[in-house]
Amino acid sequence: MINMKLNGLGVTVEEGMTILEVANFYGFPIPTLCHMEGLSPYGACRLCVVEVGDGPRARLVTSCTSRAEEGMIVRTASNRVMKARMMILELLLASCPQSKIIQDLASKYQVRQQRFRQEHEDCIMCGLCVRMCEEQMMAKAIGFRGRGEKRSLGTPFDIKSEECRLCGGCIYVCPACQLRCTYTDPDKAICGGCANIHPPCYLKDKFDDMMCYMDPCVACEIKRD
């Protein structure tokens, strides 16, 4: 058992728990995006930052990837944490404003605007689908390719994967929803017709021979209106 201080509260927790688990256990909310129970922690979105330590030596760490330690002093909602969190939300909004999950998080933290150049990314590189495919579906059909600004997500060689069993798990966990939609290129599609909202996909019949695993496929629903 480990003794630590969580938001001023002395708590005793089991060894090996992450800060995120501890906070959840004691009812302190920490927003997460790339974390999912059942998948290994990844630390990609940085949304779950908390402040660890005291005074000038305090530092921000991602709670989903750090383990609780003896004598740790953790603050989950200090000024510094809130500032960092809001900035991360702004950045997420700047890259993928069409995501319902990101929108909800932003509104929860009163982020009404973002100050960066607006982009509409299909993928925020949270890695949820990759971990889903590997750890829960045991398929390893998709993964990251390239690096830096050219980093992208998909199957090797961008062709239909032999490993993929069309379970739809990747689409289910995707916070950007249209993660691997290939628009007008059905050959390469693994999942089906989950079309992007931006730019809109109007030729729905192109995807008729594919199955869509979103039920209902939100993107198409929105489009029809």
Binding site: I142, G143, R145, G146, P156
Partner: protein, 313 residues
């Protein structure tokens, strides 16, 4: 190549290299060259084996064929996603065939301000391709890099490992021409570290140079060697920094050899030992003053030139 027609449909992983042993006498289609298998087997199990395997395939074929990646994945028990991820992560790996000569133009900060982009443009214009592409005749692949660590000499072009410094646009045509005709030959004459020397025996002072037996286009250094109960002549390149040689018997690499003067038959041996491998050094007098010492172990490149020191026996 003349038989391009016959081999179409066969494996093209090696870019139709003339020395491909699998193509000869085969009917198509061969999906991929079985030579991957060898390379892969060598590395499986070893730690960090994936990158080493890919590196070796890349070195052998110039690029990573999709079939090669699939085979690596299959044989090493990794998933294709991982292999593909690694292959696309590193700049050193190329998934597309590369030309015979790889031209890298530096566009790092220093080279950029010294006119790197103009050089890159000129190369693109002359090769009629843009960066990242290969000429249709498979001669050149052009790529840009960010700093080669020789900033003071910028703008820099590297072709097949040969550096060209302070390049001007007017030099580009010449450099490309030289690359095509073979850079290694040009190198010997321009490289300042390789120059002809003339040596003599440290004991009898007789010249050891043998003009009847030129190596690298210069008179060779002729000595008598003894190893393993064998006795014979050995001719070394007269170029300091060149390791070409010729001998009566094949000297097994790594064996220590005794050197003798063919004139006075004294053993050429000094007090010094090689700083690289510890074997005794063989001293010879350089005409015009100084001594040169070479390591007596076959294959060791330890050598030393001292133009001022007096020889103490």
């Amino acid at each position: 190549m003349t038989e391009v027609k016959d081999i179409s449909g066969l494996c093209s992983t090696c870019n139709f290299a003339p020395n491909c042993i699998y193509r000869q006498g085969r009917e198509g289609p061969i999906q991929y060259c079985e030579m991957f298998a060898e390379i892969i087997e060598q590395h499986t199990g070893a730690q960090g084996g994936l990158i080493a395997t890919l590196e070796e395939i890349q070195a052998r074929y110039g690029y990573l064929h999709p079939e090669a990646l699939k085979m690596v994945a299959e044989k090493s028990g990794r998933s294709l996603v991982d292999v593909y991820g690694v292959a696309t992560f590193y700049r050193a790996f190329s998934l597309k065939p590369r030309g015979k000569h790889l031209v890298s133009v530096c566009l790092g900060t220093a080279c950029h301000v010294r006119g790197g982009p103009a050089i890159a443009q000129e190369l693109e214009r002359q090769l009629k391709i843009s960066a990242g592409q290969t000429t249709p005749d498979n001669e050149f692949t052009l790529e840009t890099v960010n700093c080669l660590g020789a900033c003071a000499l910028g703008p820099i072009i590297v072709i097949d490992g040969h550096y060209f410094s302070k390049v001007k646009t007017s030099m580009v045509a010449d450099i490309l021409h030289r690359a095509k005709t073979g850079l290694d030959r040009v190198e010997i004459i321009t490289d300042q570290r390789i120059f002809p020397i003339e040596v003599g025996c440290a004991r009898c002072n007789h010249s050891l140079m043998d003009p009847r037996h030129p190596i690298d286009g210069h008179p060779s250094i002729r000595v008598t060697v003894a190893f393993d109960q064998k006795h014979g002549w050995l001719a070394l390149s007269g170029l300091y920094g060149s390791y070409n040689s010729d001998s009566e018997y094949d000297i097994p690499s790594d064996s220590e050899v005794q050197f003798f003067c063919p004139h006075c038959h004294a053993e050429l041996i000094g007090g010094a030992n090689c700083s690289e491998c510890g074997a005794p050094m063989v001293p010879m007098i350089v005409r015009g003053g100084g001594i040169v010492q070479i390591c007596s172990r076959r294959g060791c490149k330890g050598h030393m030139l001292d133009l001022s020191g007096a020889l103490i026996f």
